[in-house]
Symmetry: C2
Subunit: 216 residues, 2 copies
């Protein structure tokens, strides 16, 4: 059973969901022990992650978790707006009824979790659930765009975006404002209005464009 891919996936998930400190050093020799494999195998995984932008690599200096920077988050937000708007518009044109059905399903799922969270005592346990549903919603939005390249590119940007989020934004991203946003994006997409869809996607993400969000 080849394990390099498992390591890759594991590290990917942790990097995106905040499992490492920003700027932390990633030593192959250390991670080696956790995965019970050789350092070379970890190194390969880290190399791949570095090409995805989730890990910084410097020759002879090793691997690091990228530092957080407001400027980077703004750039990634712009890219998300660009790619999601384009993907959503293309989905509207190509998707048909099947895509609309998938959209309503994805939103229903997300919406359900968001309602649960609103009244919950311990929100922490819902974070992963919500996180997955949110990703699913945004992925579905562009899923019928007809371009694997665009979807792949978006997935990478989305991962880097999430990695750049502060702890507070990762944990309380499901604020009531967002709940309304998702509903409006769905409505615009189903109605087939390209202009409106672009607008709602922009509105949804615009909060990350100021660079003024606070960390926990």
């Amino acid at each position: 059973m080849p394990q390099e891919f498992d390591i890759f996936r594991n590290l990917h998930e942790r990097l995106v969901s905040g499992g490492f400190e920003h700027g932390a050093k990633l030593r192959a020799e250390v991670l080696r022990e956790e995965f019970d494999c050789s350092a070379s195998t970890v190194r390969e995984a880290l190399f791949r992650l570095s090409t995805l932008g989730l890990v910084d690599f410097q020759e002879q200096k090793g691997f690091r978790v990228p530092n957080r920077s407001p400027a980077k988050l703004i750039e990634l937000t712009h890219m998300r707006i660009l790619l999601e708007s384009e993907g959503a518009v293309m989905s509207i044109r190509n998707g048909g009824i099947r895509w609309e059905a998938k959209m309503t399903a994805a939103h229903h799922q997300l919406s359900h979790i968001e309602k649960r969270i609103s009244g919950a005592d311990n929100r922490t346990e819902y974070i992963e659930l919500w996180s997955d549903a949110e990703r699913e919603f945004h992925q579905t939005l562009i899923s019928a765009c007809g371009s694997e390249t665009l979807k792949e590119m978006h997935a990478r940007i989305y991962a880097m975006f999430r990695q750049q989020l502060m702890v507070s934004d990762r944990r309380f991203g499901f604020i009531s404002e967002n709940i309304e946003h998702h509903a409006q994006i769905l409505k615009a997409a189903i109605s087939g209005s390209e202009q409106m869809t672009r607008q709602k996607i922009h509105d949804h993400l615009a909060r990350h464009l100021t660079g003024m969000t606070l960390d926990a």
Copy 2:
């Protein structure tokens, strides 16, 4: 002297400029000899290239040069249009006189080579020269956009795009039509017209959208 990066660069260049057959197998053991290093080192470089989309990787099956597909070229063309248009417009807004100067310089250089080629007996020797100048022109176009992420993303798409080109398009991409296109893109960019710039970039790349180009 760390050599992994050299191997990476060398393979990258060859993959993009058609140094390998489409679909060819890339065996670490074979390439090892050429670079006079171990297979593991080649493997690392190939892994990185696979994450960039320039090499296909399958577990337990090794590495391959991606096959050419008209659909893929069309997708990449759409991405180029999207990214270059956005980047150019942002450059128009942020670039100022310095960017305009760089643009005219890049175009002058490209234009000079294109004129040389038109009257040359043996065009082959100019290909690399032209190729570099063309890349430089398109890179300069988006260079003042203010987003490293966008530039990086564009560089990746551009590389994959070039890799997907047929031999004929790589060798005779400097057709007279293109010479005119580049001039018009420059003119639109310098004039500051965002709409016109978007249009000219689209026109320039549109020929790849039909999927009907022939191979040599």
